[in-house]
């Protein structure tokens, strides 16, 4: 009955193949766009069917395994290409295909007239295919395949406008930084394979739950390595540096890959392996700390940036930090909840930013904008919804998920990180409304004779409206305990059940919960108020002389630090190795063996005399040689 679920991933693959192979022949943009988005819509519908099918099943049994084929069989090692459809993967699939579909539709308008129109849609489809394999795979290997696949697509799409040098550089940077994380993931996978004898989720998690002692070295090492993988893909300290640069790609890509979906892969992976992480308290603390620090530092950078996409990029890094805080505090479903709401409002804001950039003729500096709210009403209003949502004003979606994260961090007893979280929430509200103030309010700071901002076409604004609605109401799936039922937590519960039996249980009193809600609303309101006062007026940009401010604006000079500490010594080392090892040793061996074989070949081919008698003689001599060999040597 469930065999058609493989279509969820197959449809985007078909879209990719059609647009990728025949793209250059498809002259009509509409056709390419409709193929690209239609396949994703199809996947979304099937994911919805899967969702409802799961709902119809008893809560503990909500797992469907779709085995496509035996993939690799080598001795006792056995891997099937199989999909695991359970509440967690369905929620992720719905986000990926749902938000993905809206962004595809938006791209039809945004990419209008681009030379690589069909190529763009082909890559987007390939991305969705890889991402779905990542979340639906029922073993680490398939997940890794998706993991690498999304990395590749991210690379291809960041460097989509490959004629410009900086897009290529940004793409390379993203790829390399991700490789570091991927290496961690791979080593973790090897450890798992060696110690559990399988890469299948069910087998590994079952064995881990029953036979691994909490806090043992093995599980701590495995989880730290997995988390290293997550820090790469999800842009956490110390590997977050690639994400801001990744904004060189087209804006829909930033929305889809670098905000809503791919960057949450790390969060998904940690959640998927919840049982492993629950067994490693040290790693959990590490995740909490890294998450909180990333959230905080990225937010401080976001406050000082002037590029509209960079602000949103740092905001994404910061929000991902929030998600990891949730995971570190053991609130896996809360992390996924924030993934969901974040996908709505961050995709919305990126697309809104795209709409602004589009109408401002590729201007990205907010200092050169201002006063756009009357010229782009839909973009402004929808962006505002997103801004309120991310700031955490109830009843907008961001409020619920962020409040739940802060509550969980508070309950876990790490008050320092709770404090950082609250501070970050404050800064979030501030930098988003700084952005809104500078972009949409105040005086126009662009040349009004040259630039005439206008509202974007419907194909772009309708996705904005839908995402805005979702950003407003999306939070109701996870209400606080004092208000009502937490649907998403309840739905995801079976997936995290075994992890929860290991982790300590916290009970919250109504009074505490109200207090926490008041705090988080208060800081958000203060942040918005301050930003509004400072920026929602005629604003004159000035260059700051404050060294601290400049240091933060320069992103704490992390890039320069990495350059000095890692890249430069590595380059020197590799140059040294190149000159000695490559040029002398390797090239010597390669060229030497090349010469050796070529001369050998020249000699040996002379045996082929063309005279048949020679052949017969050599053959008979060969038999005699073999017999002598057997009698004398082998014996």
């Amino acid at each position: 009955m469930v065999n058609y679920f493989f279509l969820i991933t197959l449809l985007p693959l078909i879209g990719f193949l059609v647009n990728g192979i025949f793209g250059y022949k498809i002259k009509n943009e509409k056709v390419a766009g409709i193929i690209g988005s239609g396949t994703i819509l199809g996947s979304f519908i099937i994911a919805l069917i899967a969702f409802f099918q799961l709902l119809g099943m008893p809560a503990e049994q909500r797992t469907i395994t779709v085995t496509l084929f035996q993939w690799i069989t080598a001795g006792s090692f056995n891997i099937s290409a199989a999909y695991l459809i359970d509440p967690l993967s369905v929620v992720m699939s719905l986000i990926i295909t749902g938000v993905g579909f809206l962004i595809h539709v938006y791209s039809i308008g945004y990419m209008h007239g681009d030379r690589g129109f069909a190529r763009f849609f082909a890559f987007l489809n390939l991305f969705i295919f890889a991402m779905l394999n990542l979340v639906l795979g029922d073993n680490f290997l398939l997940m890794f395949l998706g993991w690498e696949g999304v990395g590749l697509c991210s690379y291809l799409l960041i460097g989509f406008w490959y004629e410009k040098k900086f897009t290529g550089d940004a793409a390379n940077k993203a790829f390399w930084v991700n490789r570091i994380g991927d290496l961690g993931f791979m080593i973790a996978m090897f450890y798992i394979l060696v110690n559990f004898g399988s890469l299948n989720f069910g087998a590994v998690f079952g064995a881990a739950g029953s036979s691994i002692a909490p806090g043992s070295t093995l599980i701590t090492v495995i989880t730290i390595l997995l988390f290293v993988g997550a820090t790469g893909k999800s842009a956490q300290i110390p590997l977050f540096i690639w994400l801001p640069d990744a904004m060189a790609g087209p804006t829909p890509v930033s929305a889809l890959i670098h905000a809503a979906t791919m960057v949450t892969a790390g969060v998904y992976m940690v959640a998927r392996c919840s049982i492993l992480f629950a067994l490693a308290p040290f790693t959990m603390d590490l995740i909490l700390a890294i998450g909180a620090l990333t959230a905080f530092f990225a937010a401080t950078i976001a406050v000082t940036q002037n590029d509209i996409k960079k602000i949103l990029a740092y905001s994404t890094v910061s929000q991902l930090g929030f998600m990891f805080m949730a995971l570190g505090a053991g609130a896996f479903s809360t992390g996924i909840f924030h993934v969901t709401t974040h996908a709505f409002f961050k995709a919305l804001m990126f697309l809104g930013a795209g709409s602004v950039i589009h109408s401002m003729h590729e201007e990205q500096d907010v200092m050169n904008m201002g006063g756009l709210k009357n010229k782009m009403k839909v973009t402004f209003l929808t962006f505002l919804m997103g801004g309120i949502a991310i700031s955490g004003i109830p009843p907008f979606s961001g409020f619920f998920s962020k409040d739940e994260i802060l509550t969980n961090v508070y309950l876990s007893g790490n008050y320092l990180f709770f404090g950082l979280g609250v501070l970050t929430a404050f800064m979030t509200a501030f930098y988003i409304f700084r952005l809104i103030g500078l972009t949409f309010y105040g005086n126009p700071r662009y040349d009004e004779h040259k630039t005439h901002p206008h509202e974007s076409p419907k194909v772009m604004t309708i996705p904005l409206i839908i995402l805005a609605v979702l950003s407003v109401i999306g939070g109701f799936i996870g209400l606080p305990h004092i208000v009502g039922p937490n649907l998403i937590d309840h739905f995801l519960e079976p997936v995290f059940a075994s992890a929860r039996t290991i982790l300590p249980v916290h009970h919250i009193e109504a009074g505490t919960e109200i207090m926490l809600i008041v705090i988080s609303v208060f800081v958000a309101v203060v942040g918005i108020f301050l930003a509004y006062r400072a920026y929602a007026k005629a604003y004159k940009p000035e260059v700051s002389r404050n060294p601290v401010y400049n240091f933060v604006q320069n992103k704490y000079k992390v890039d320069e630090f990495y350059n000095a500490v890692i890249v430069t010594p590595l380059r020197m080392l590799s140059n040294l190795l190149y000159k000695f090892f490559d040029l002398i040793v390797i090239d010597g061996i390669v060229n030497g063996s090349g010469k050796f074989f070529t001369s050998l070949s020249g000699d040996w081919r002379k045996m082929q005399t063309g005279v048949i008698q020679d052949y017969a003689v050599i053959s008979v001599a060969g038999i005699i040689a073999i017999i002598i060999f057997v009698l004398l040597v082998v014996k």
Binding site: T73, G594, G610, V620, F629
Partner: protein
């Protein structure tokens, strides 16, 4: 009783019977055509299709021997029958699409009949369990191929190839026959099971037995072009019409391997005779001192090294592919050293993969010679820009032959090397890997010429008819798909070797 057994045998002999009838029908029908015709080609295809159908009906038949222990009907021969028919089918299509054959002035009458006869010979080689039957099957297949190799009667190259082939084949089969007669002298039987039973129950003169076995090896070695019995290969491959070369490189070779595997595993290992056991890793050897796997290892290494090394200097594509196919036989022999289900099934897997990639390479060579009128690699500069589909497919075949991941060839090599490593033959695996590196040089050289050098002179696009492209893709797609989705193939191969009862 006698009639009963013959009738029973015939009922399990439909595929072979159909092929025999097809040969007769083709010869008869051709009498009515004065000019060249494709009719006999279609008849050949119909015959192959019918034989395929009846082969499929044998899928679940229990392993047994028919015709008084002459021929076996079992999963092992089933595997090879499927390969042979598939290959025969593709070769008929190649012939249809080859300008070389189309423009020749000769009638096609014998051509298709001989092609089917070669396939029939292959069927019997794969299934005979009696040395006499095996020899006859070998001769049937060889004689057909001699004539096919000399199909262009007026071409010196083709005639020379055929003559060399006949002489060399004659020498080899003579040696083999000598070996068989010695074995008969030792064991008093030509039946493989009886030989096995005799050897395990009675003491024999080891030296005589060794001489007999390695004389027989001349026959096997010649069929699969193993060193030092490979000398005919480059000359014959170069001189024969290209579809015939493709046929020789796949069908004959596969049948030769089938014969080799069955002979050694049935006659010289102890499965099915639980009374004989020897200790240690080499449990399969019935006689102490009979180290045939070691000899196979030496031959395998020599074969692939010679094939790969000499291929480096070749600039004729057909000759290069000839050496490449020698090297490929070396890899397969390597797997035979591991006398275990893993090793033998790796061999079968490789053969199946080899069918697609090698036939693909030959088909690409046919198309290049059709359109560009050249077999010289140096003259293929830049044709990747003029015929992208053809050259990309060629790239797939070349990469697969050298064993690059994501292609079927990688999976084939992976299974062979992992079988070697699992059984402690790490050195052989390393030599195999180094050989793959060497082979990469000449495979990539072709691609370098196609893609990295811009076309000079005429740069117009050269495209093919839909039929050509479809057949090209029909070979290229499996070469990629089998590199990702190979479960069923390896299962099939494992199932096919179960009858030998190896552990």
């Amino acid at each position: 009783m006698l009639t009963q057994q013959i009738l029973d045998g015939l009922s399990k002999f439909y595929p072979e019977t159909i092929l025999s009838v097809t040969i007769l029908v083709i010869v008869f029908v051709e009498l009515f055509f004065k000019k060249k015709t494709r009719v006999s080609g279609w008849i050949a295809m119909a015959g192959l299709a019918a034989a395929m159908l009846f082969t499929f009906l044998q899928v679940n038949i229990p392993a047994q021997t028919i015709f008084f222990q002459m021929v076996a009907v079992d999963p092992f021969s089933y595997f090879f029958k499927v390969l042979l028919i598939l290959s025969g089918f593709l070769i008929v299509l190649f012939t249809f699409l080859s300008d070389e054959i189309r423009s020749s002035e000769f009638k096609t009458q014998e051509y298709y009949a001989l092609l089917i006869a070669l396939t029939l010979g292959g069927f019997l080689m794969a299934s005979s369990v009696n040395l006499l039957m095996m020899y006859l099957a070998l001769e049937l297949s060889s004689l057909s191929s001699y004539v096919l190799a000399g199909y262009f009667k007026k071409s010196n190259r083709s005639s020379e190839a055929a003559l060399k082939y006949v002489i060399y084949g004659g020498v080899s089969s003579g040696l083999m026959l000598f070996g068989i007669s010695l074995i008969y002298g030792i064991c008093g039987s030509l039946d493989m099971f009886a030989i096995s039973a005799y050897l395990s129950a009675n003491p024999v003169n080891l030296i005589t037995l060794l001489i007999a076995i390695f004389l027989m090896l001349a026959g096997f070695g010649y069929k699969i072009s193993a060193v030092p019995f490979h000398f005919w290969t480059p000359d014959v491959y170069e001189g024969s019409p290209m579809p015939v070369t493709a046929l020789l490189s796949v069908s004959s070779k596969a049948a030769g391997f089938a014969m080799l595997i069955r002979f050694f595993l049935v006659a010289f290992q102890n499965a099915g005779h639980p009374t004989i056991t020897t200790e240690g890793l080499h449990q399969y050897i019935t006689l102490p001192g009979l180290h045939w796997p070691e000899v196979i290892a030496v031959i395998a290494v020599a074969t692939m090294t010679l094939g790969n090394v000499v291929a480096i200097w070749q600039d004729n594509l057909k000759r290069l592919l000839a050496y490449s196919s020698i090297a490929q036989a070396g890899y397969m022999l390597l797997a035979f050293v591991v006398v275990s289900p893993q090793g033998i099934s790796a061999m079968l897997t490789y053969l199946a993969v080899y069918l697609f990639m090698n036939l693909g390479a030959f088909f690409a060579a046919i198309l290049i010679s059709n359109k560009y009128k050249t077999e010289n690699i140096e003259e293929m500069k830049g044709i990747g820009y003029r015929s992208p589909l053809l050259c990309v497919s060629m790239a797939v075949f070349m990469l697969s032959l050298s064993g690059i991941p994501m292609t079927a060839g990688f999976i084939g090599k992976f299974y062979i090397f992992s079988a070697l490593i699992n059984n402690g033959y790490i050195w052989l695996a390393i030599i195999g890997l180094m050989n793959s590196v060497v082979s990469l040089y000449y495979y990539i050289k072709i691609l370098k010429n196609m893609f990295l050098i811009r076309p000079q002179g005429d740069t117009g696009a050269v495209s093919f008819g839909a039929g050509y492209s479809v057949l090209l893709l029909a070979l290229a797609i499996p070469t990629i798909v089998l590199g990702i989705f190979f479960g069923p193939l390896t299962k099939f191969a494992e199932y096919s070797v179960q009858i030998f009862g190896l552990k």
